[in-house]
């Protein structure tokens, strides 16, 4: 077809108004697409940035979608990765809800302006004041949804409970060559040390850190579960670990896990003194959330009885809502404990100082 079709000739030349016919089709399509009918049928969505890395959370999210019809789009990464990404995404970030698993990181995210304050009577009523950010006129920025404790486990055959029942005693000379921990740079350890700085000050904490290093059976490595297995196998006599890993092993039906647990003693540290250090997993609504209503609904869901029970039963953490009945035989076996009274802000503020102390003490 070598004949040229000029715009003018198209109207009269090749049949009906070809270009105009296409345009008409487009307009009709656009009208249909924009009609309220189509938007009403579009399923609601929630964009979740979560640092929670627990398999058991799948059920949590599926239940939310089932009961509200809101689809959850997820990105899971470590706290720091998420914070970096959110900072770069800036005002156009598609994040609706941000969930983090460390108190110091929550503080960091709050200070970096990543949360927006929301007003929710439901959340204010159910979540204790010390487990959420401070109340501002515009609302509350983030809420804790579950807690976990940093506890001490020891080898019953080698160590007396009275020698290791506080964090401070782990650094004392009688425990030389007995202590195992994970790397000091891990957020859980940094928060512990940050809380200690708040309680007793920098010099005393540095003395403790040096004492810990002197008492180590081996250089820090591995995760919290590795510390538990190291104590059971006799590589060391005592270790710091996270409560939910211990409880997971406690509840495990596997014979080798049961054999392991049988060798171990468990201690709530500092019960007679300052109380056991706890860390918070929680989150809030993102600053520029495109779906703020759905975000608020999701946070309220996390504080509901069903979700709180998931945290307890599924991941062996403690729910923040006190009225929820915990059906976890492992947690029940460990019983109640006195909680340390250190604010999240203190843990967050002291993180840099904590890392500096650990570096000076050569706590790897």
């Amino acid at each position: 077809m070598s004949s040229k079709i000029s715009p003018k000739s198209a109207v009269t030349h090749r049949g009906a108004n070809r270009p105009l016919r296409g345009l008409r089709r487009l307009l009709v399509f656009a009208a249909v697409a924009c009609s309220p009918l189509v938007w009403a049928a579009k399923p609601a969505e929630l964009n979740l940035y979560s640092a929670r890395h627990y398999q058991t959370d799948e059920a949590l999210y599926n239940d939310f979608t089932k009961s509200t019809g809101i689809k959850i789009n997820r990105i899971e990464a470590s706290d720091n990765a998420l914070i970096e990404r959110l900072k770069s995404e800036g005002a156009k970030s598609p994040a609706d809800v941000i969930l983090l698993v460390d108190a110091a990181r929550l503080w960091r995210a709050e200070t970096d302006g990543l949360f927006q304050p929301i007003k929710s009577e439901y959340l204010d009523a159910r979540i204790p004041a010390n487990l959420r950010s401070q109340v501002l006129p515009e609302g509350v920025k983030w809420f804790g949804f579950s807690t976990r404790a940093r506890v001490i486990v020891y080898n019953k055959a080698r160590i007396q409970a009275s020698d290791v029942d506080t964090y401070e005693k782990l650094a004392e000379p009688q425990n030389k060559g007995q202590v195992c921990t994970r790397s000091g740079s891990h957020p859980y350890m940094l928060s512990l040390v940050g809380a200690m700085i708040d309680r007793v000050g920098v010099p005393a904490t540095e003395v403790w850190a040096r004492g810990m290093v002197a008492n180590m059976a081996r250089a820090p490595r591995g995760g919290d579960t590795d510390q538990i297995t190291a104590v059971a196998s006799g590589e060391c006599g005592v270790a710091l670990t996270n409560s939910y890993y211990f409880v997971r092993m406690l509840r495990s039906k596997k014979a080798e896990d049961q054999a392991l647990i049988a060798k171990l003693g468990f201690i709530w540290p500092n019960q007679q003194t300052s109380g056991t250090h706890i860390n918070i997993a929680g989150g809030g609504v993102a600053k520029n959330a495109p779906h703020p209503e759905a975000a608020k609904k999701f946070l309220e869901y996390l504080a509901s009885d069903a979700a709180q029970a998931y945290f307890a039963d599924g991941n062996n953490e403690w729910p923040v809502v006190t009225s929820v009945k915990v059906e976890n035989e492992g947690l029940a076996k460990l019983g109640d404990f006195k909680v340390e009274n250190v604010s999240v802000a203190a843990m967050g503020r002291n993180q840099v100082e904590a890392q500096k102390i650990l570096d000076r003490a050569r706590f790897k």
Binding site: E76, E84, K92, R221, G222, D224
Partner: protein, 530 residues
């Protein structure tokens, strides 16, 4: 042609330039408790950086020796001799490439630790309580072994290609001049294969430098530990970037030394007819030793880890997560697309340098290849800074293009090294002859270079494919919604300390990487020699 290449080079260098952006950003309000970059760096230097540098150096030396012996030794045996099992070893020795370093680290420790099968067996056999002489696998030494077993395929593959492509005339000339086999190897073959061996070792050692997950599992603190400490514990992005740039400068310096050392040497053999080396048949004891060498390498580097994975899987019970198919397709798709684009870019860049003979372009290629030494997370910070500057970071959540872009930069080195090594073995006089006979550069490329380069191109594609399958840090940071890969799934399970449960995704990564490894490596052995 040159404009296209310049564009490609610019696009690929943007994130590296993006690393400089934090220099110009002011600290936000929380600076009240931060030290500022000077404070962080000073603190690190005063207390820990010296130790990190020492252990990094020791680790690199150890791994360098390990991969040289394993890679060059096996490549030599397989390329030049005929012995029982050689046909299998030829492609099987590449298999460890499919195992990610963090999985290898975990398996290595699992098999060799106090409560692992080897020590338990030895204790039973010897009837003792503890094996005082058995070293702890979770140490610097253990890290060296683990990385050597995991990364020697880089050297093996490239060295083997170099040895295979070598002309028989060289060896014959050496024989007539009275060199024994070993002398010919040391004096002639090894120096001729130097660019190839250096390329392979550079790839492997840069991967060690960039690694964070596996080294921290061994409890070893390297320079990457310092970078992450500055970034995560001190929340000081600027200091982390400065340390990373220092790392890149160091790596660039090494490349510069190597480049200037061989500036005057030529590696393409002239001579009209290239005849391939016929493998010599080994008999008796020599055949046994050759078999034992290759067999032992394969056993330690692949068979034992694979069996350990299978055993974990068996203990765990086979329960396939419903999301596996999605993870697998995501990983595969990303790997294929990135491999194709990466090889294309590498060819374009390498050719531009060759055709224009421009030293600038050679250096641009070097610089672009440095991305391999950067921890994936740091490179991602560069990309994030860049996107943040133009307020386009939200793209990441909608599409995986940003992720592919990150992979391209991160892994350009693997494809560039392979392609450049292949190109360096084609004499410039061939180009001259073709030009004399009236061929355009494009025709030369298509009809002459391409068949000669096929093996290098396959190697390049293979490296990138397997690297992308295993890649973790950049994927975690830059992926869109609901887009998990096998590596991400493995990480989630490991982060949750469900180490037994990550057997299946780990095995899947290995298997998924194995298929192209085997296919391509057999294609490489089968392709006609020239």
């Amino acid at each position: 042609m040159h404009r296209v290449v310049a564009l490609i080079a610019l696009l690929l260098s943007l994130p590296l330039l993006g690393l400089f952006i934090p220099f110009f950003q002011t600290q936000d309000g929380s600076a009240a408790v931060d030290l500022g970059a000077q404070g962080t760096l000073l603190h690190l230097w005063k207390f820990v950086l010296g130790d990190y540098l020492v252990s990094t150096f020791v680790l690199l030396t150890g791994v360098g020796v390990g991969i040289f012996i394993l890679g060059v030794g096996n490549a030599w045996l397989v390329a030049n001799y005929q012995f029982p099992g050689k046909r299998i070893f030829e492609w099987a020795l590449i298999l460890p490439l499919a195992i990610p370093t963090y999985v290898m680290a975990y398996l290595f420790v699992d098999v060799l630790q106090f409560s692992g099968p080897l020590q338990t067996l030895l204790r039973q056999v010897l009837g003792v309580e503890t094996l005082w002489f058995f070293p702890d696998p979770r140490s610097l030494g253990g890290a060296m072994w683990s990385f050597s077993f995991c990364l020697y395929p880089y050297v093996y593959l490239i060295a083997r290609t170099a040895f295979l492509d070598r002309s028989a005339r060289l060896s014959e000339a050496a024989e007539t001049l009275g060199y024994s086999g070993m002398q010919a190897f040391y004096r002639l073959v090894l120096p001729m294969a130097r660019p190839a061996i250096f390329a392979g070792m550079a790839l492997a050692l840069m991967e060690v430098l960039a690694d964070y997950g596996a080294v921290s599992y061994f409890g070893v603190e390297t320079f990457a530990t310092g970078i992450f400490k500055a970034w995560l514990s001190f929340s000081d992005r600027l200091a982390a970037v400065q340390l990373s740039l220092g790392l890149l400068v160091f790596v660039g310096f090494i490349f510069y030394i190597e480049q200037s050392n061989r500036a005057r040497l030529r590696y393409a053999s002239s001579g009209v007819i290239q005849r391939a080396v016929l493998p010599k048949t080994l008999l008796g004891r020599r055949a046994f030793w050759a078999f034992a060498c290759c067999g032992l390498t394969l056993l330690c580097a692949f068979i034992v880890p694979a069996l350990a994975l299978l055993k974990l899987l068996w203990q765990q019970g086979l329960s396939i997560d419903v999301r596996y198919a999605k993870w697998l397709t995501n990983s595969f798709w990303l790997a294929c697309v990135t491999a194709l684009i990466s090889v294309a870019c590498a060819v374009a860049l390498a050719y531009a340098a060759r055709l224009t003979k421009s030293r600038t372009l050679v250096w641009v290629n070097r610089l672009l290849g440095l991305g391999y030494a950067l921890p994936g997370a740091v490179l991602s910070v560069g990309i994030l800074s860049l996107l943040g500057l133009v307020e386009a970071a939200w793209i990441m959540s909608a599409t995986s293009l940003v992720l592919i872009y990150a992979y391209l930069i991160r892994f350009l080195s693997s494809s560039l090294q392979s392609v450049e090594t292949g190109l360096s073995r084609i004499t410039p006089s061939m180009d001259g002859t073709a030009a004399l006979l009236g061929a355009t550069p494009f025709q030369t490329m298509r009809d002459i270079h391409f068949p000669l380069l096929k093996r290098s191109l396959l190697t390049a594609g293979l490296f990138v494919f397997v690297d992308v399958m295993k890649e973790l840090p950049a994927t975690l940071l830059l992926r869109p919604f609901n887009f998990d890969t096998l590596a991400v799934a493995t990480y989630q399970l490991a982060a949750d300390e469900r180490l037994a449960e990550l057997a299946l995704p780990s095995l899947t990564i290995v298997l998924a990487g194995l298929v192209p490894v085997i296919v391509l490596s057999r294609a490489m052995s089968a392709s006609k020699r020239y």
